[in-house]
């Protein structure tokens, strides 16, 4: 489950993660038997998916502590639904202090003990080295994709299809996909937007934005740029994994102060030529919702208009959502 987790640690234990961000096409009703109507789609739909056998292939369900909703999901799975798969949890500290770093290191050690039980494999130092090397390479490939975005001859939809393939491909496969994106004249036109939020679903959104005469110049998405981690090189694998997680870009679910988010967004928007910020949130996402008025205020003062739209995860985009985005694009043109 989203958002941040120690990929190299899973790999060192010979486990491969497949991320579940919904999925959008799954109906809510099975999950609604366990979660109230005011629970976000990611939790409810993932529970539906699990209950309908969609995760039968998995040996464990890993729920990092991202928010109150995912906390509730992990608790209900572990205490009541008790799926065949083991439910693993990880508490991610909300600060970036020395105490947070030390805690996370110990928390990862605790997680590793569960992973050994699950996989039956105790990683050797070679396993750790190999895992970090592979995952660091994939992290770098992702960072490089963002650096090269303006020079890539692909549509936004194609770009994000590759970015999000990190959610299910191995590190090697992802690097291969990223390398395949051709450089050349980008098919970009119109107004540049920065998109912010948890996840931009469905991918058709990018086509629609292009049809409106705009393009996504950059993102502040949990499934995208917020996971461009800085490489770390400590000898101790747990320290290294902790440092990687604690060097993610600003993210409200990690407790980043609002001013730090604003400063980073402004800098990046200027760098990529975005004229406005589209905040695109799934319903009931408190970590995102709290920041919206202050992002609007601070970024507005800096000359960047902000539009906030909420969506329910599905396979189609409501007309109302599209017309609001279209009106926003028109004001920026």
């Amino acid at each position: 489950m989203p958002i941040h987790y120690p990929r190299a640690m899973l790999r060192a234990h010979r486990l491969h993660p497949i991320e579940i961000w919904g999925p959008p096409y799954v109906a809510r009703h099975e999950g609604s038997r366990h979660f109230q109507a005011y629970t976000c789609d990611i939790v409810v739909k993932a529970t539906s998916f699990l209950r309908s056998g969609g995760l039968d292939v998995a040996r464990a369900i890993f729920v990092p502590h991202t928010c109150d909703a995912l906390q509730g999901m992990a608790s209900v799975l572990g205490d009541f639904l008790r799926p065949d798969q083991r439910v693993l949890t990880l508490y991610l500290p909300r600060g970036r202090r020395a105490s947070d770093r030390d805690f996370l290191r110990r928390e990862l050690e605790r997680l590793a003990r569960s992973l050994v039980e699950l996989s039956g494999h105790q990683p050797s130092s070679e396993d750790w080295d190999e895992a970090f090397q592979a995952e660091d390479a994939a992290d770098s490939a992702l960072a490089d994709l963002y650096r090269r975005r303006a020079r890539l001859a692909v549509s936004d939809r194609d770009f994000y299809t590759v970015v999000r393939s990190r959610e299910y491909l191995t590190a090697e496969q992802f690097c291969e996909q990223a390398a395949l994106l051709p450089e050349g004249d980008a098919p970009r036109r119109g107004v540049g937007l920065m998109i912010s939020g948890i996840v931009a679903e469905p991918l058709e959104l990018f086509d629609q934005i292009e049809d409106m005469g705009a393009h996504v110049a950059g993102d502040d998405l949990a499934c995208g740029f917020r996971r461009v981690y800085s490489p770390s090189s400590e000898n101790d694998p747990f320290e290294r994994a902790a440092n990687r997680l604690l060097t993610s870009p600003p993210d409200p679910t990690c407790g980043t102060p609002i001013q730090a988010r604003v400063d980073t967004l402004q800098t990046r928007m200027r760098a990529v030529g975005a004229r406005g910020l589209l905040i695109y949130d799934p319903k009931f996402c408190e970590p995102e919702l709290f920041d919206v008025p202050l992002l609007r205020k601070h970024l507005g003062e800096a000359g960047f208009p902000v539009l906030h739209v909420e969506f329910e995860m599905g396979e189609t985009l409501p007309y109302q959502t599209l017309s609001r985005i279209e009106a926003f694009v028109e004001t920026l043109s």
């Binding site: 909703a69 209900v76 009541f80 949890t89 102060p257 408190e286 970590p287």
Partner: protein, 452 residues
């Protein structure tokens, strides 16, 4: 001309205002008000048309204590350092350092009880905060930006202390406060306990409390007095023990108070735990409850069904629910929410303050798993001999509410206890439907009747 304008410039106007308006006039006026309230309560006789017996006499004292607290808050700026804290924050060191503490959640609840929460929350909504975020947060953000409050005025914070042991919402909320006030935000991050606490989790919380003390000392400009800290911890423990005793008095039949009384009387243990006045207040309350028990006086006249309330109260409905349920012989005698401020009393150890605080502040019911909460409810059903459970599905409190559907299912199917999931919100009346709520409550009472 105000008091401060009439003063020469070398006199600290804040201190003068604090002395005149709070110490001299305010406290005296509140004492007189309390005497008047006591006189009224003493003269009150049970009304034949009311299902409830007269309220506890000590409510007049509670009103005085809480009013005094909020009154002091109006004049605290410049006189005492001010910290705004979450309801589950480790405040004992701050109290020992002389901070005046503001509990925004309690303030929001006050707005709810006075039925002003919606109009204040709308101020936040007009400024862009979504109706889907916690109504406590919306109420307080609305008060912050508009100045509207039934408390008169809240003092500006010198520091903010946010402890995540009740929810992650407070972190997002306090980031907004930090942006608005531009003061330091100290985070006490408490890992959620899916099972028992691990040593590294306790050590993490302890280290953060130590760091908080350093920041608080720097802002206060003085070091923490160990003896004073010990006394505050001793009061915190005694206050929590007494609060637990207060709540457990409702194990008697008929229960001398309702959980709705508990929601109101929890003010001192939330806002002033660690203070001698809280200890004295709950001693007085226990004496009165014992007197009621001895005389066989229940909170409601005819107690036919005893019920547990899960989750926060619906603040704007407390009076109505109490009467409505009382008319049907239903006494809500216990609640998981009020218990949270008492059940950890045995863990508080004034001889080992930091270690024990780390454990205590990791273990509130809201920081524990859904399964643990179900176990707590089952235990309360047995100990209080309960006939049913009302689970308030609180739109604003997701960590408390997620899991309730399965908890209800197990209470009904495994324990055979009628249980109702009541959809509402702790502070926003727009999220409660009277008609739907009454229908569901009627059906719930019928279920208990059928089982009796």
């Amino acid at each position: 001309m105000t008091t401060s304008e009439a003063l020469p410039h070398y006199v600290d106007s804040n201190r003068v205002e604090h002395f005149v308006n709070y110490e001299l006039v305010g406290k005296t006026a509140l004492r007189v008000q309390r005497w008047r309230d006591q006189w009224k309560i003493a003269r009150r006789r049970p009304r034949p048309d009311s299902p409830l017996n007269p309220p506890l006499r000590c409510v007049a004292h509670m009103k005085e204590i809480m009013s005094r607290h909020y009154l002091e808050g109006r004049y605290a700026s410049g006189v005492r350092k001010v910290a705004w804290v979450t309801s589950g924050a480790p405040t004992e060191p701050l109290q020992a350092l002389g901070y005046f503490l503001v509990y925004p959640e309690n303030h929001a609840a006050l707005c709810g009880v006075r039925r002003q929460a919606q109009s204040i929350a709308e101020e936040a909504e007009h400024a862009g905060w979504s109706r889907d975020i916690c109504s406590y947060a919306r109420t307080d953000i609305g008060a912050m930006i508009s100045g509207k409050t039934p408390a008169g005025r809240l003092p500006r914070p010198d520091m903010l202390v946010c402890c995540t042991n009740i929810c992650q919402t407070v972190l997002h909320w306090y980031r907004v406060l930090a942006d608005y006030f531009g003061c330091p935000l100290v985070l006490i991050d408490t890992p959620f306990l899916y099972q028992e606490a691990h040593d590294h989790e306790v050590a993490y919380v302890k280290r953060q409390i130590e760091d908080m003390i350093c920041v608080a000392e720097e802002i206060a400009g003085k070091p923490l007095d160990e003896r004073r800290f010990h006394d505050v911890m001793a009061n915190a423990r005694r206050g929590a023990e007494l609060w637990l005793e207060v709540l457990n008095r409702s194990q008697h039949r008929p229960a001398p108070m309702t959980a709705f009384d508990g929601f109101i009387h929890m003010g001192p243990i939330v806002d002033m735990r660690g203070e001698a006045v809280t200890v004295a207040y709950y001693e007085r309350m226990i004496a009165e409850l014992d007197e009621r028990i001895e005389r066989g006086i229940g909170a409601i006249k005819e107690e036919r069904y005893r019920v547990l309330w899960d989750n926060l109260p619906i603040w704007f409905k407390i009076g109505e629910f109490s009467k409505w349920l009382g008319e049907r012989g239903v006494n809500v005698v216990a609640s998981t929410y009020t218990y949270a401020w008492g059940e950890l009393a045995p863990m508080i150890d004034p001889e080992h303050p930091l270690d024990s605080m780390a454990r205590v502040y990791l273990h509130p019911i809201l920081n524990r798993s859904s399964g643990h909460k179900l176990d707590s409810m089952k235990k309360m059903v047995e100990e209080f001999e309960l006939d049913g459970v009302i689970l308030h599905s609180d739109r604003s409190c997701k960590p408390y509410s997620l899991g309730q559907i399965d908890q209800r299912d197990r209470l009904v199917k495994k324990l055979g206890v009628p249980a109702l999931l009541l959809e509402a919100d702790h502070n926003d009346p727009r999220d409660y439907s009277d008609e739907q709520g009454s229908n569901r409550l009627e059906a719930f009472v019928e279920m208990m009747e059928a089982q009796a």
